[in-house]
Symmetry: none
Subunit: 149 residues, 2 copies
Amino acid sequence: MKKLLLYGTILALLTILLQLAEYRFLVIDHTVELYVGIVALIFVVLGVVMGKKLTTPKEVVVEKLISVSSNPSLPFLVNEMVLDKLGISKREHEILLLIAEGMSNQEIADKSFVSINTVKTHVSNILVKLDVKRRVQAIQKARELGIVP
Amino acid sequence: MKKLLLYGTILALLTILLQLAEYRFLVIDHTVELYVGIVALIFVVLGVVMGKKLTTPKEVVVEKLISVSSNPSLPFLVNEMVLDKLGISKREHEILLLIAEGMSNQEIADKSFVSINTVKTHVSNILVKLDVKRRVQAIQKARELGIVP
DNA sequence: ACGAAAATCACCCGAAAGTATGAAAGCCAA
DNA sequence: TTGGCTTTCATACTTTCGGGTGATTTTCGT
């Protein structure tokens, strides 16, 4: 709710500024109508900004289905889209590949130059993101999704 | 974009209305500052409304991934020769298949109507015969040898 | 420069996996 | 029928995995 105060302050300041400016030249050089128009314009813009910032954007959830047909053909290209969709980071993907190689957490830790605890954390996150319970299942699913060979 | 025109029109009309009203009583009864304040307030509100209406409600598209398991080619035939060569029994092969399904020892035990201890024994023997250390590696090797899909 | 996301690490605990050893029962062929 | 193989099961022990929590540091985009 600090935003409300902020906007209120800005509003007040703007008003004061305009009122000060009024006595300098606006009332002299221009008609009152023009002045009012400018004020209106400024505050419309301000209103729009406020509205955008203060309004919680209503989220409409639309489910879309993407079929991932695994390619039994040759070269194997990582399906980046799937990685994005699942929120799997680079590091996580690296470790996923090592898991698919049949390596233990300790071996992965050694190969990656990190502690086994770190590996464990990554693995846990991977399991969650792939929505599986065991690393074996993770390998399967990852293969189906085209993110491991 | 019709909305833009609509709001533009409303804005113009409001301005005109206010200007008309000005000559009737506002300039007489009140100071210019108050008048400006009222205008500002009105247009702030209008701005907020515009902002809300004109802003495309954010759609959060949640894309779900369906893995279309690819089985276009071979029906998979078990390489019996390899099984003989490695001395893997029928029972062991059955369990190997279940391992490759990503099942835990307990799940395999339930499905096979044997105790988990029995499964463990089989698994241990399988690991030895495939010359691997972990079940994940067993799956890989078995797949390479053509004894699991 | 700031905040969010990513990466790192630690500790605890329980579950799962794997090792070792032993043993009983059934099958099958020499 | 005897010896070899398979299948079954158990007990005990060690290692690996996975969940949960919390913390610090890095990185990166605005």
